[in-house]
Amino acid sequence: AQTVTQSQPEMSVQEAETVTLSCTYDTSENNYYLFWYKQPPSRQMILVIRQEAYKQQNATENRFSVNFQKAAKSFSLKISDSQLGDTAMYFCAFSHWGLFGNEKLTFGTGTRLTIIP
């Protein structure tokens, strides 16, 4: 079974600082995708960044970047120059084939990130 583990239930950081959220996963597959989703308070979940497993280069999106270590099955998210609007729950997710030939996401339990003014 595919599992995604986020070991940091809560984190907080001062505005403008850098923060790293951890995620590990377990799979026997070779081709898959990894995602970080952001869920602001009382708002919908949105995609922050994605990584294809076959790409060695780490994905970046403006202030957001990942450190993808395939052998270690680790996928951490780094937020640089953190802003108050980054306050949210962050979910790591793993995309894989389901039993019925469908693509499905398995989510971690989330990390609640608070940016302190």
Partner: protein, 118 residues
Amino acid sequence: EAGVAQSPRYKIIEKRQSVAFWCNPISGHATLYWYQQILGQGPKLLIQFQNNGVVDDSQLPKDRFSAERLKGVDSTLKIQPAKLEDSAVYLCASSLVDGPPSDTGELFFGEGSRLTVL
């Protein structure tokens, strides 16, 4: 472009009552998902539709939960009878994926329907 619409946003019911949630995905999105998000946990897939056919309902408690997607567009999720442990946020999501995984796999989520069962 309009996002994924869900209603109601909040619902409070007594146990053993029934409830229905509605979802309108983004226009043109073939795949629709219902997720259950219990407080403190990540979303868990309940059912996945591709157009109007069920692709995966392996984690749907079929003795009490049902879902349909008529004409491959809107979808409803029903719980009857509700139990205390059904208290959760029910998230609807949609994606363009229709067949093998795209290189995005991105899901677009609605704001969710928060259910409280007393």
